[in-house]
Amino acid sequence: MEIQVKPRALTILDGVSAVLFFAALAMVFFYAPMEAVMGQVQRVFYFHISTAWVGMLGFMSAGVAGIAYLRTNNRKWDIVGTAAVEISLVFFFIAIVSGSIWARPAWNTWWTWDVRLTTATVVELVYFAYMFLRQGIDDPDRRARFGAVYTILGFISVPLTFISIRIFQSIHPVVIGPGEERMGMTPEMRNTMFFSLFTFSVLFVDLLWHRIRLGWLSDKIEQLRLKFAQ
């Protein structure tokens, strides 16, 4: 029953994430210089790229957890997989919304069918489907197996979607505005970006830990409920 007590390290990590988060926010607003062409709206870029990064981390963790679950049949990996999917879902959504905020003044449109935007959307759709799939299954063992299989298939298919759109664009070049990697950044901007990336990675670990603990606890409740129902 030691799991009921919140680990000390997790509390410390909470604090660290909060401090880092405010520091990153301060850097974005006060340390990073104003972008010459786009102005203030460019500041959304730092958190945009960080949320997209966390979404990617979650996506990869879910795929790895899916493989680990099928190999070991250990409930722990199912909990890790669900946690990663949920975090990825939320952060990709934030990345898409913040990207739209930036795209409106930069590209003069809220949305284009650019390869990255489309791929992020497909990941969202795959994960919504994953949630629907899990909701439709009562047996926890089967739910875990199907969930793992689906995350693995998504893990294979989404990069292929990315590649197939990429190849299309190399045949028919379309003008989509400046790519992020081609933006000339000052050292302050680069520092802010890397600090934001680091902050959000810590935040990801913190959230993942919380969500895994939540998964364990709800598992325990389910078991207790079954025990008392008998």
């Binding site: 099928l70 089967r142 190849i167």
Partner: protein
């Protein structure tokens, strides 16, 4: 003792042969059932025609629009009719307890997957074989292009490889047939993207080197998805 040793020798000698025979038996079972009921093919066909009809009015398919959207219309039609067929084919197994019977059979589980997949592929190809000339006649477009036929075959293989797997999953859930398109479409997107692209290329008479990347991708998807489905199928029929 004698029978036991001869039995084990038989099993040791012919594992590949039994896999092939079991697969063929399942395909045959599906075909025979379909020949008698004609439920699946007729509903897929009528549905496909309805989709084309709706597209006709939704897109106002006049001669100029047609040349650019034909590939898209065809693939959307195939994808929608395909989900209908996949759902039906697995629901029949689940409803009458046939899936449990198949699982009890002393054959490799992958024979069940390949058997169902080949059966589904045959139905989908049959629908496509009927839809293509109909579309040609209705819209006065020549679709008899060997390249296009190849793309349609490769695309259908990829679609069915994932579709059969996901349909097997979907029928075992509470939401069942509603779930299949939601599960399937985001995963099968790469197949559809490159199939539409290659089809448009062939229909528009583009040079082969422009179509080749999409065609290559299609082959790569087929191989990857068949291999992946083969590896994970055991986990989704386990009880």
């Amino acid at each position: 003792m004698k029978t036991a040793s001869s039995l084990s020798r038989v099993q040791a000698e012919t594992p590949r042969f039994t896999l092939l025979r079991a697969t063929a038996a399942i395909v045959w079972k599906d075909l025979a059932a379909e020949l008698r009921s004609r439920e699946l093919l007729s509903s897929m066909l009528v549905f496909a025609l309805l989709v084309i009809l709706i597209f006709n009015f939704a897109l106002e398919l006049d001669a100029r629009t047609r040349s650019t959207v034909t590939a898209g219309v065809l693939w959307v039609t195939f994808a929608f009719a395909g989900t209908l067929g996949l759902n039906r084919s697995m629901a029949v197994e689940k409803d009458r307890g046939c899936l449990d019977g198949l699982l009890l059979a002393p054959v490799d589980r992958s024979a069940i997957y390949f058997g169902k997949a080949i059966g589904n592929l045959m139905f989908m190809l049959l629908v496509e074989i009927i839809v293509l000339p109909l579309y040609s006649v209705l819209y006065n477009t020549n679709l008899f292009n060997p390249g296009l036929l190849l793309v349609i075959f490769l695309g259908s293989v990829g679609y069915i490889a994932v579709g059969t797997l996901l349909a097997t999953m979907a029928v075992q859930t509470r939401t069942r047939d509603v779930l299949l398109p939601i599960l399937l479409f985001p995963l099968v997107l790469p197949v559809l993207i490159s199939a539409v692209r290659a089809s448009t290329g062939f229909l528009g008479g583009a040079p082969l080197e422009e179509i080749l990347p999409a065609l290559n991708l299609l082959i790569v998807y087929d191989i990857i998805f068949i291999a992946a489905a083969f590896m994970v199928f055991d986990y989704i029929v386990e009880e």
